[in-house]
């Protein structure tokens, strides 16, 4: 008759998925779909211009087909494979950006929305510990949502290959030896998959901070989450101007401020290795950064683990607030 902790946790995660299906599934889905649609529009526009000018055409919508075409025409295999991987990475970058926004607002609402509409009283009428509840929300954010997004990236990538095959067929090129013989989607895709736990550890400071604000704020968690680090930063600068002891400017804004608010952005650790912040938007960086060696280097960075420890501490405080905050 007893329900195991693992079963309960599974249902809690499923509940998070049900509640946030729109953000976890449909938002990345539509982002990928729009990218595909833009690519189709680009292909059509390219064909139209081609027909009109009988000349060289630059297809610039969506994924760059020129790079593909260059690889195809030169029969330069490494470049072709690289172009195919770029396609995958482009889709992954778009999905990652979209997912960052989704997760930011998901985490802010995770422990606040049900207090506001009082449905917390229903959840609390069930035999579930507050620790399991809060951890299920963190788990949904750093593991479940990225897994879904990564699956969508793979599907979108394969759909993209189908589109390109059609385009090659129209141009009288047989896509099978040219394209499908060289597709290795699982190489780069596996790297994206392995990167999920690295992203998860990297994201812990923001996850902790947002869950803490969500659990502790009596109202307006968004303003608390955003303004608190801004105000502290400004005060810190002011204290510095007075010549009093303060946290070094660069360190505060780069490590603390960005850690609290931006580490939810996937692959942030790639840029951090070269001293940058946020998304490694440059494809070349992204490409090298996603290697297993780079992941290893990221996991060896002390800031990775200091941030994770701070994030875990904040999650623990959020659990305490979830247990005792009594305002529903």
């Amino acid at each position: 008759m007893s329900t195991s902790t693992a079963t309960t946790f599974g249902w809690l995660v499923k509940r998070e998925y049900w509640e946030s299906r729109r953000g976890f599934l449909w938002t990345p889905f539509w982002a990928a779909a729009v990218l595909l649609i833009l690519t189709v529009l680009g292909m059509i526009a390219g064909e139209v211009f081609n027909a009109r000018t009988h000349g060289e055409t630059q297809v610039q919508f969506g994924i760059s087909l020129n790079q593909m075409l260059r690889g195809v025409s030169s029969h330069d295999m490494p470049e072709l494979v690289r172009g195919l991987d770029m396609t995958m990475l482009s889709i992954a970058v778009i999905a990652g950006i979209v997912l960052s926004f989704v997760l930011f607002f998901y985490l802010l609402g995770a422990l606040y929305d049900d207090r506001r509409d009082r449905s917390i009283l229903f959840w609390k009428s069930l035999p579930i510990s507050d620790t399991a509840t809060v951890l299920s929300k963190a788990f949904a954010a750093v593991i479940v949502a990225p897994l879904i997004a990564t699956a969508i990236v793979l599907v979108a990538y394969l759909a993209m290959q189908v589109l390109i095959s059609l385009w090659l067929l129209i141009h009288g090129v047989n896509p099978i030896p040219l394209l499908w013989m060289h597709i290795e989607p699982f190489g780069i895709w596996l790297q994206l998959l392995v990167a999920i736990p690295v992203n998860a550890i990297w994201a812990l400071p923001t996850v902790g901070w947002l869950l803490f604000c969500s659990a502790a704020a009596r109202g307006k968690p968004f303003l608390w989450a955003l303004l608190t680090p801004v105000v502290i930063g400004v005060l810190n600068t002011w204290v510095g101007l007075l010549g009093l002891p303060h946290i070094a400017q660069g360190f505060y804004w780069r490590e603390i401020f960005c850690g609290a608010l931006l580490s939810i952005i996937p692959f942030g650790w790639i840029g951090a290795q070269v001293g940058g912040v946020g998304f490694p938007i440059h494809h070349g960086h992204m490409f090298q950064g996603l290697s297993y060696e780079s992941m290893g280097r990221a996991l060896a960075m002390p800031q990775m683990w200091i941030g994770a420890a701070v994030g875990i501490a904040l999650i623990a405080v959020a659990i305490w607030f979830r247990r005792w905050r009594d305002d529903a």
Binding site: M1, F122, S125, W324, D326
Partner: protein, 302 residues
Amino acid sequence: MSATPAMLDAETQNAAMRGSVIHAANLSKRYGKTAALNGASFDVRPGRIVGLIGPNGAGKTTALKAILGLTDFDGTLSVLGMDPRRERPALMQQVCFIADIATLPRWIRVDEAIDFVAGVHPRFDRAKCERFLARTKLTGNQRVRQMSKGMIVQLHLALVMAIDARLLVLDEPTLGLDIMYRKQFYQSLLEDYFDENKTILVTTHQVEEIEYILTDLMFIRDGKIVLDTPMDALGERFAEVLVNADRSDAARALHPLDERQVFGKSIFLFDGIDQTQLATLGEVRRPSVADLFVATMKGTYA
């Protein structure tokens, strides 16, 4: 009504042996400067339906929150032998509550709600829940946000009644519902849920409607329990006497709790006066809970 007085007497003895479902001694809780609970003490025994009645701000909801482990407090409180502050997840396997109407999340579908409760609650009987829902117009893929208040309560009640819990706590469960749903709510509870192994603790403003299902009555005022009596004993302890104008001075000499005028006669409410003595003054009858409530709470709304 499933429980006859004779059965209740046997149960009362039984309960004394089995101990209390809730034992509260000197419960206190302050919010800033106001005391929501101010030394409340009471015992609830198994197999009872207890009404906790009090004006707004008297501490009803705070008392329930303490029992459910939703808030911290001072004093002693044991629910089913557990400390609700420290053993909440284990306690909630044996305790259900409906706090207010419409606390079901608005995004959830009927099927999802059933799946989830079935997944996390070891004492949930899915077939039972589906049987209850079959009597309603609710359908599986309907979302709470598409339902009327009455339908939301039907769903919540179906979920809760399918849980074999020992204590059910209801906080204003029918507030804002129309009369059909209110009647149906309490009727379902009595016919399909309540038995001698279960205990129900209910707070409400609508005293008249639950008066006949209660086995025990508690009044709470300013954070203290000011009345705690089985309904059976209510008629022995309290009496309402309809007195002609010429005898009203004699009635006042017995220190009535309350006096009001109806059609040129006075109605006096007495606490603990011998009923044969009262019979000499006029017609004696058992007071309604509502009249008793008004008399007890005099001054709290002033």
